[in-house]
Subunit: 467 residues, 2 copies
Amino acid sequence: MDKYLQNMKFLFNPSSVAVVGASQNPGKLGFHVMKSLTNGGFPGKIFPINPGGQEIMGISCYPTLAACGDMVDLAIVVVPASVVPTVFQECVKNRVKGIVLITAGFKEIEDPQGAVLHEQLAAIADRAQIPVIGPNTFGMINFHARLNASFTPEFSLLKKGHIALVSQSGGMSHLLGFLGIRDNAGFSKIVGLGNRLNVDFAQMIEYLCEDSQTKAIALYVEGIDDPGSLVEKAKAVTGRKPIVAYKTGSAHVGDQASLSHTGSVAGKHDIYLAAFRQAGIVTVPDSQQLLDVAKAFAYCPIPRGKGIAVLSGQAGPGMAGSDICEREGLEIVSFTPQTQAKINSLLPPLALRTNPVDMGPAWYDASAIAGIVKAVMDDDNVGGILLFMMFASANVDAVSGMADLLKSWNQRKPVISCMLSPPGIWDEQVCELEECGAIVNYSTPERAARAMAALCKWAKMTRKNKG
Amino acid sequence: MDKYLQNMKFLFNPSSVAVVGASQNPGKLGFHVMKSLTNGGFPGKIFPINPGGQEIMGISCYPTLAACGDMVDLAIVVVPASVVPTVFQECVKNRVKGIVLITAGFKEIEDPQGAVLHEQLAAIADRAQIPVIGPNTFGMINFHARLNASFTPEFSLLKKGHIALVSQSGGMSHLLGFLGIRDNAGFSKIVGLGNRLNVDFAQMIEYLCEDSQTKAIALYVEGIDDPGSLVEKAKAVTGRKPIVAYKTGSAHVGDQASLSHTGSVAGKHDIYLAAFRQAGIVTVPDSQQLLDVAKAFAYCPIPRGKGIAVLSGQAGPGMAGSDICEREGLEIVSFTPQTQAKINSLLPPLALRTNPVDMGPAWYDASAIAGIVKAVMDDDNVGGILLFMMFASANVDAVSGMADLLKSWNQRKPVISCMLSPPGIWDEQVCELEECGAIVNYSTPERAARAMAALCKWAKMTRKNKG
């Protein structure tokens, strides 16, 4: 393995972290980075580097990197741009393995001096094969290492899990993280690429492909200098780990915004989308879907075939979900005669008993609901199940049997649900079902159906690329 | 005013409610209806009708409607279908003004007897000009009268407000209500039409148009027998109150589901959409957008012109929102020279200072952020503002000045925002800004931009229909 890749492992799993520019002034980013590391519970050694400081958050300061001895794996750098080349040289000298460069003011500024500085830093880092996240980034978080190497301590509120988010925008990373708290999504890593000195999407995909904590990769892309390299790495990953991408910058005004923002032109939107498709990357049209699809990718087994069953506790959400299925090319399959006979025995004739099944008339019979779900789970025609149920106190009893069934069934097919209830009725149980991997849940049937469609799309691409 | 319309007022604002089929058995809907009325804090008189019962939830039972004297405005009926015609006759005899008929088993069942019963009930109700919500409904809620006439007590958790939801599906009503809790949406009424004995969309639109508590009407439609009548009533309302509709049943399988569900064929989806457009009804493609657009319609002033400003605290969300604006035909306008000069004085040259404005570089200067927002608010070229900001502890100070500005500005133009933060950072302040009418907030920039697009679409239709 080359040194760069080896250093990537240290970058994300350091034994020790130095904060170059640590501060006890809450108006400084160096303060918030220290708070992120300490509040996040980083178990390794923390070195606050501040020549004038005594102690920050109870940890003794060091005047320089050299004073830490030969012990720093990761340096988080938050000093002014002009000082960064000197810091980089010290990093090399002290055998630092990886750098998170939060400082802004390089390639993205109008002054050509910014681009010069950028090239200077790249030369130093590349020569030493030190991977650098940034510059102009909020940082990165490795949830499995309890490493919050960012200026946002609140990222540590997110649930540890299996989605790796790699993003070209700090704002979008924060947005998706905060949405993730609402939506009970679990992350392995969140990485803000910033201006991408030498860690770009391609390098991250290559690294994450080998990362056992990451089961799905979500990309937020504005515009990149080397899309060919991303596509090439993604192709190598296809079939091993699903990748979903959200690309903005389709708007005319977007090109200008992106140039100013991260120093790259957004470029032709459609060309990106075609390249992503070719690389086996599933694309989505908005931020909520990026998170939704990533969640399905990370927590669902692969559906076999595109035959879908729609089971709903109430007809309306079933119709809404079925509309999306049909629009997205999912087949709402016919059940086998055995399954159909079983359902007919459990539902009165007034119900819609063929797929999509309206289980409403069995709503007060927990064993009938469980029986229908079980029969459909066991049906070989069915590759995945969409389950839509609204609960309140009047009908909550009907689902307890089904919950046990879902838990014991061990997720042989994806069960993607919209189970929604008012606070205190069944929300904790839904979280519990998600935790144990029985379901992946969304707050509308349309979001659930779109996630299923993406899952089937990826399964199909994978089969094609293998065959 | 005719007696039917007058009775509609009593139906939604009764002084007294009888529950025909009230029960103290939690396995019965009559129990949950009683719980809804009592927990919801209905201030009027409640008559539980149960020939065998003594007392339900501390309220004395009455053996019959007649025993209540001439005092019942609204009867909620939850007895078996076969008994309902007798109950209806008693309602007429006792001068009941309105009925909510929760009981199922009429037009939607295969047995032709169901349709016969339906017609029989319609004849009784129509002759007496008694409006009937249902049959086959969860009921209805009038939040301003503290009247929860449904079998779901949890509807009383929703916030009182100005969205009236009229829905052909109980499941969808529950879904939208529970989403409303998450999304801080306020409702005036939620009405489950069920099989529509004599209260259909047309009658509800006519009634809600005159309802001072309702500022926006949201429709969930599967398929209706008399779409012409809906379109005609909606046309009469256009320009007075905005209407947004979500129509499902585009899927092939949907027609079958709708027939079985509420006794109507979903019909040709595209024809509905064209008719809605003609009637000045804005349509949306999913349940989340139905709620989102209704919220904007109920709580935003009408934008003048389609010129939009996009102000973002971070470039990524700004790009995502701008993409949607362009796709939806919103114009991201040029500022007046005065506004542009002001912004140029507040943002360094490295920022994108033209519209869409990336306020990121001013992120640590609360007065600069407030100054930019103020300048754009006062710009005559700008008809509406999209404001995207992600907050965490590192940057929360920058927004306090802006919050005061938004509150004092008195909403002369719509300010639609995506202001998102982790729990405990700024979520309460966002709610407070919504409560006082300063902003309407969404959890992604794309949802905010789509809501603005719908608002502009409605403003345009209104102008056209007036001119």
